[in-house]
């Protein structure tokens, strides 16, 4: 065995630092503030399919070859998602958030990190069934343009629909899930009416700013990919964007504990990670 074998992990960590720096300097995408353990995994996975022998070898390719960079970047924003993932969350939205949303004449929702759109369609279904859809606008954003394109199409492989149907029922669905899609050849298209009130656009939580005043921010399983600093940046955007009394919904393993904004929110539903922005106490 090479006597420096035990140094390999440290050297690779250093190489990944340099790779992330190169990406940032060259393209402005900042992955330096991402949760590192997952990034390391993804780089190592990518390395084995890249034709390079080491992470160092990837650096000049990333700098000079935009297509190579795009492939790598797609690897960094793995858009794994599901329809009605965590059904209890949608149930809690129906029971605890919708009644408040109904008190506003027009409802604006920011769905940040929407990936390929499964959750956007799920939320649209809930709003429809609660009679709120026609006066809502959902701003669905992600920094992954490929994922957004797929979200705009709303076509998903049939294999996903069995779980989706069960989740929909557990989420308190009021109709038959099959009313919301049209089966095609080994895929199914979500009904296009579920997207008429949705605006899809590119938005990077690491570098872009707030674009409007929101009643609900839905951002699930995105913050877990960020380190604390970047989490705080994103949470500050959400806080700035929300009206007083507006809602924030995070992933079920994400929490405001230990973040900059923990004292700005009250807990609405602990398990579903739904929070409400406090009204300022001096008003």
């Amino acid at each position: 065995m090479d006597q420096n074998e035990h140094l390999k992990p440290q050297i690779q960590t250093m190489e990944i630092d340099l790779l992330l720096e190169a990406i940032f300097r060259r393209y402005g995408y900042d992955f330096r503030s991402y949760a590192r353990a997952s990034i390391d995994r993804r780089v190592r996975n990518f390395l084995s399919s890249s034709g390079c022998d080491s992470v160092s070898e990837m650096i000049p390719k990333v700098i000079h070859d935009r297509a190579f960079f795009s492939r790598l970047a797609r690897n960094f924003s793995i858009a794994v998602t599901e329809m009605f993932r965590d059904p209890m969350v949608y149930r809690a939205v129906r029971e605890k958030v919708v009644p408040m949303l109904k008190t506003w004449p027009h409802v604006k929702i920011w769905h940040a990190g929407c990936a390929t759109g499964e959750e956007v369609h799920s939320l649209a279904i809930v709003l429809k069934e609660e009679g709120l859809y026609d006066r809502s606008t959902i701003y669905a954003t992600d920094f992954n343009d490929d994922a957004l394109d797929r979200a705009r199409e709303g076509i998903y492989e049939t294999a996903k629909f069995q779980d989706a149907t069960r989740n929909y029922q557990q989420a308190g669905g009021k109709r038959s899930f099959s009313e919301y899609y049209h089966a095609m050849y080994n895929a199914a298209a979500m009904d296009s009416s579920l997207r008429t009130r949705v605006v899809f656009s590119t938005h990077n939580l690491a570098s872009d700013s707030v674009f409007g005043e929101m009643h609900l921010v839905f951002c699930r399983n995105v913050l877990i990919y960020f380190n604390r600093d970047l989490q705080n940046r994103a949470l500050n955007l959400f806080t700035e964007s929300l009206i007083h009394g507006g809602f924030l919904c995070l992933g079920t393993k994400e929490s405001l504990r230990f973040t900059d904004v923990k004292d700005t929110f009250d807990v609405v539903d602990k398990k579903s990670r739904i929070y409400k922005k406090r009204r300022p106490s001096n008003e």
Binding site: D40, I224, Q231, K253
Partner: protein, 204 residues
Amino acid sequence: MNNKEHKPRREVSYHAVVMGGSAGGFKAFIAILSSLPKDYALPILLVQHLHHNDDGMFSRHLSNALKIPVIEPYDKQTIEPGIVYTAPADYHMLVEMNKTIALSTDEKVNWSRPSIDVLFESAALCYGNRVIGIILSGASADGTVGMGAIKTAGGLTMAQDPNSSAYPVMPQAAIDAGVVDYILTAEKIGNKLMALGQKSNQHQ
């Protein structure tokens, strides 16, 4: 006579234990962990393959059966000694270099989320030769790659004796890959952890 074959590097004190189980894993975890005291010197991170609707049930059952505290961690939680951290259903659990827990919803590895390989590989990176990896009963090959990573980093690896495992495939896969230092029954693994934990304590 001195059996040097399985001797890990002398004088190494360990900083963490990672464990993986699948089918038949629950019983093995109980057999190993029930002897550990409340104030065990090392943190224990554990992946059991779970149904995605588990909703903390595995963790609660384990907690009820053990003296040592068991929790299902939240993302970015600081890892502390004397606590068993169980990966939540449908999330990978990883260790960050700053000794905090990272959860991820990345795609399944070996058809599993959580995956044993994902935890073990990140632990090898973070703890180097200061980690103990243990692979238990299961009908999957998850964990073999991770055990290899721990072995390469100079850590200590143990497998549940396939003959005493409800499902021998998983420990056998690691043994066949040549990445296992000790092959022991669950009870003996428990004794070994007890001894190693005490030693680590003295060295700290």
